[in-house]
Symmetry: D2
Amino acid sequence: MEVDEKYFKNISHRERAIFEGAITMGALFHQFDGTPVNLQSVELLEKAMSEAMELQPCIDKVEVTVNREMLKDIENEFQYTSINGNMLDVRVVSIFEDSQAVIRMKFIEELAYPLMYVEKVE
Amino acid sequence: MEVDEKYFKNISHRERAIFEGAITMGALFHQFDGTPVNLQSVELLEKAMSEAMELQPCIDKVEVTVNREMLKDIENEFQYTSINGNMLDVRVVSIFEDSQAVIRMKFIEELAYPLMYVEKVE
Amino acid sequence: MEVDEKYFKNISHRERAIFEGAITMGALFHQFDGTPVNLQSVELLEKAMSEAMELQPCIDKVEVTVNREMLKDIENEFQYTSINGNMLDVRVVSIFEDSQAVIRMKFIEELAYPLMYVEKVE
Amino acid sequence: MEVDEKYFKNISHRERAIFEGAITMGALFHQFDGTPVNLQSVELLEKAMSEAMELQPCIDKVEVTVNREMLKDIENEFQYTSINGNMLDVRVVSIFEDSQAVIRMKFIEELAYPLMYVEKVE
């Protein structure tokens, strides 16, 4: 593909897989953070988030899991809350040529932070 | 409900229906603007957008239609585009007590703008 | 203005002010929820949020205050957090003709929820 | 830093710089897409976007330029438009240890698409 020739010659296939997976993870977080959700709507929302982000370049698969426990604990009277990064567990699988990267985001207790990292790359 | 007593005594039922519907319309636009979409993913995304926004206070129903023609015309090689307000047609039905409002957003050619207005209120 | 004639004849000036203010409040929440912020960046971000939302139709003024206490309490090692509705206190002043509405959003302890309501309208 | 030890041992310094820069680029696009903007507000918004995204891990500098020509061409009567990827030119500089990456996003005419790529990495 010409685009690869012109814009991506300076990085390896492995780096490209990491690059595209990381973009999609950052995008997913900031696109959907704030979306209203509860136990009834969560499954469809997870699917829509996956399908949307799978459209991005080099993305093979996106798995999104919203923490059900955090949805059960909703205490306000409106019976829903807003998606935030702390309740997300996401895997983005990106492929470029012979390289595959699995980018992960999950809430890390010790860090008190939803960390994004490279779970696997080859 | 106590909340109504405490925070909404200064507006009529009709105004409350308009208020809640308008919040949800503004929210929907700015939550999902930018989401990747194409002809394959659009139907599920519309449903997820509806279900999410129907969780908000006083919202009875949300109908979202993304303009298919604009999705057919995608010319880039990545085969998807990003949701923007110009391709959305949305109806939010909000109910408070005996009042119902239908808030509409659609692209108005003459205005070159996705206008939000009150389609019906009673 | 023709737009008013064509699309807003069915609501009062007061309802119009409420309508436009409510749209902008919903929009503000869902546009900026998730934005990285800390004590150093918060002031500029508040201004940018205000300026952006003041562009919307009939909006006279938007005042945004992010809860500094919640920013001081950031415990993760990355020294920033993401904006969420619970840390926002916002006033949107909307004017249509002879009517003015003040829409407010703030976190209500008893509701465990960032409530949007009409603080004043005349 | 322990986090690096625990979560990032499987990638090189160079890959880490690419990874963090790419996350931030994806995040920036999807966080701010849809934000109201015009020629008066654009400069402050650019600064706020930069400052917010510079908070993210390993980010040294973020330069955002919104296409002024596209703001001049606003034809609607409301005198503002919504940020979309096509009007953004962004450089994210990320540093990890001895490696630096410059991630770029700009609209590429031939692709009709705002491409994200690695402009420089060492």
